[in-house]
């Protein structure tokens, strides 16, 4: 009976393992993915492994195995409590695995008479695991470590772990006193262990295999590695993520999540999303908009990559996923802000159309609600003044100053963007003084649709040189805020975001 259960559990584990590992070679992320079969990727990985095995990189790999995998130095440097928790769980469990679960295979072959009625080592190791679970519960529910969200899987695993150890300990204690009790605990213990075994490849516990792999792979690989292997490593890294949320705690823009509530701003939540997304790549319109905004709201400060205890190269992950997402149509207004600086630096790594199209789409989407701007021949009716627009409460107290403008054109004269064009009106639509003047006339479309707003350097020359104290640059910032809102409403009403394409390619 038990051997049948064991074989079923082992079969589920084996199939799960094959399914998961094959995914590393079948799936890909990024807009520019080498077009290779899974077999070719597997071959490339084997070549990569061999080349590491016969090079000085082997020493690097061994060092990482010792320092970061065995001693968990990565975690100790960041958070001692977390390291204690992890070591208790990991050392206790490893000990139990080798001396108890596999005792017939390992220990008895070395030491024939290995059998103790009440094995103190087992109790010590079991106590370690229980203490580890206690620390884990304490971190989650008493200390309430910020941004450590508890998913259903987290809860199942902690319960499963506790059941395995507690039933095992009860088994040890009842061994000499009551056979029937012993038998019951043995049933519970074994069933729990087999459930754990079968569930392992599908749960975050899979990280006991993948995290060491990620740590070693990232230590021996760099930007010059075979792109096929970088792709494979990236998919494997999704399984190496434990969702420990260290990255989100350190994330430079986490405060934006606190205000906006888009969880795709947080690196750990993006990873959770990608794990699920990578195999099928289906994404509804709203899902696409959320991930686009979330992943573009990133200053590329690298903190997540530096802090990740699994050594995951999140920097490259975000770069690739961001490209994939922005290629999948609709658009992201954030592309027209300094959030694009890093992408600008990385331009040589991207194909020209791949680089330009999403930018173009963002510009078009922002201009779409304001058709009046493009038609330079059209007569602007004087009665079109939008008094509501004029009266709209400014976000910043200073922006009401546009009314002081007497059209001296100083702002446009000192503007370096205007100065950089032979025909500025053709490139920018309205010049700064024209924008301010149009505001006074309530010509909302002209004001919000001008490319000038998005090509403003925010160098504040205009504002500094205005004799009337019009806060030109501050006004531009506010107009950009308004234009983004209007463009979102417009896209919503036109249902432009209704059809996100199925794949990114």
């Amino acid at each position: 009976m038990y051997s049948i259960l064991l074989y079923i559990a082992l079969a589920v584990f084996g199939i799960g393992l094959i399914y998961k590992v094959s995914g590393w070679f079948r799936f890909s992320l990024g807009a520019h993915v080498p077009n290779m079969t899974a077999v070719a990727r597997l071959t490339a990985a084997c070549k990569g492994l061999l080349s590491v095995a016969f090079s000085p990189k082997l020493l690097t790999a061994l060092r990482v195995l010792l320092v970061d995998v065995l001693l968990q130095n990565h975690i100790r440097k960041q958070d001692t409590l977390r390291w204690v928790m992890h070591m208790l769980l990991y050392a206790g469990f490893t000990f139990l695995l080798f001396t108890h679960a596999l005792d017939k295979v390992i220990v008895t072959s070395l030491y024939e008479k290995y059998y103790l009625a009440l094995n103190p080592f087992l109790l010590i190791a079991g106590t370690m695991v229980i203490a580890g679970v206690a620390v884990a519960l304490c971190r989650r529910f008493i200390l309430k470590v910020s941004r450590l969200n508890t998913s259903a899987m987290d809860a199942y695993l902690l319960i499963l772990l506790a059941v395995i150890i507690l039933s095992g300990m009860a088994m040890e204690f009842t061994k000499l006193t009551s056979y029937t009790h012993y038998q019951t605990f043995w049933d519970i213990h074994l069933t729990a262990c087999l459930v754990g075994l079968a569930y392992l490849p599908f749960s975050k516990m899979f990280h006991i295999l993948t995290t060491p792999l990620s740590l070693v792979a990232n230590a021996v690989m760099d930007g010059r590695s075979d792109p096929a292997n970088i792709q494979t490593r990236q998919i494997m890294e999704l399984d190496a993520c434990m969702h420990c949320t260290n990255c989100s705690k350190r994330c430079s823009v986490a405060a934006a999540y606190d205000r906006l509530g888009n969880d795709k701003i947080l690196p750990s939540e993006r990873m959770a999303f990608l794990k699920e997304y990578v195999s099928h790549k289906r994404l509804g319109a709203r899902g696409l908009a959320t991930i686009q905004k979330g992943i573009y709201l990133c200053t590329n400060c690298d903190r997540c990559t530096v802090i990740c205890p699994a050594g995951i190269n999140l920097r490259d992950m975000w770069f690739n996923v961001r490209e994939e997402m922005i290629q999948r149509q609709p658009s992201v207004a954030l592309m027209l802000t300094p959030f694009s600086y890093y992408r600008g630096l990385k331009r040589p790594a991207l194909a020209p159309t791949q680089y330009n199209q999403p930018l173009q789409r963002a510009k078009e989407a922002l201009a779409a609600p304001f058709a009046q701007v493009a038609d330079t021949k059209a007569v602007i009716p004087l009665s079109a003044a939008n008094s509501q627009f004029k009266k709209a409460a400014p976000l910043v107290g200073r922006t009401g100053t546009y009314a002081f403008c007497f059209t001296c054109e100083n702002c446009s004269t000192v503007c370096p963007v205007v100065g950089a064009h032979d025909d500025p009106q053709q490139a920018l639509d309205l010049l700064p003084h024209q924008i301010i003047r149009s505001m006074n006339l309530g010509l909302k479309d002209l004001v919000l649709g001008s490319r000038m707003l998005w090509y403003c350097l925010t160098c504040y020359q205009c504002q500094e040189h205005c004799p009337q104290g019009v806060k030109v640059a501050d006004i531009f910032y506010e107009l950009k805020n308004l234009a983004v809102m209007e463009a979102a409403d417009f896209a919503g009403s036109k249902n432009l975001v209704g059809h996100a394409s199925k794949t990114g390619h």
Binding site: V253, D258, P338, L457, C459, Y460, Y477, N481
Partner: protein
Amino acid sequence: MKFALFLGCNIPVRVPQYELAARAVLGLLGIEVIDLAEFKCCGNPIRNTDYKTFLFMAARNLALAQKEGLDLLVLCKCCFGSLKKAAHAMNQSSAALEEINAQLAREDLNYTGKVAVKHLLSVLYHDIGAKALKEKAVKPFHGLKIATHYGCHALRPSDVTEFDNPVAPVIFDELVAATGAQSLDWPLKLECCGAPLLGVNDELSMSLTRKKITDGQQAGADYLCVACPYCQMQFDQVQRTMSASDHGQPLLHSIVFPQLLGLAMGIDARSLGLHMNTLDISNIESFLKQEQK
């Protein structure tokens, strides 16, 4: 003197030499800097699309410094401008301040305007003084012509940033002069480096960068000198990309001010991260040697 050091997002990963040199110089000048691990993005990039989130992100950093009872020493001029603007906005509007504080309260933070935001250059100029720096410059430069680049978000809007005279600033020039180098007058000294539009409109961004570099070179400068990571990336990494695609040579290499000051103070090039610049600036040391003869 003690400050909370605000590095921002770019310096640690893309301009680490700025941090290295600033720490070396500040240490030698007896200015203590404290690192607050909880500091995050200053909010600058999101101001374009979402003003209130910008204000919250900036205010959070101000509140963190206030909690520690420290003033801020900022290296990046965009961070500096962003924090200054947020402080100004909350100073002007009690409604904005209340709204932000209600959100900050969730993290046990509170901001009441008790934090001074200072840029590295202001600290060096006002708290140490150009004269004192000149005395510390034991290995001054000789015959070195520097085109100082002021950076927009420190200078303007001047009523908010309170950095220097916006049309005739002197701080940076006097600091450069304290190292023995000559700070040139050049037409585009106060203009933008072009960085804010990189990734948005690269042609425009690079044309502004090219204009500045050409102008500085025509004025006879040996090097550009900046005190902002965006300006440095533009004149360093981006200039290299630009010249590679034009099949030309970079015209004017750029040094970060604490590197320049550090060399004059006798700190070795490696401790100032001279080797971390993209464009080679090691030759600048030859201007020190002439003095020693």
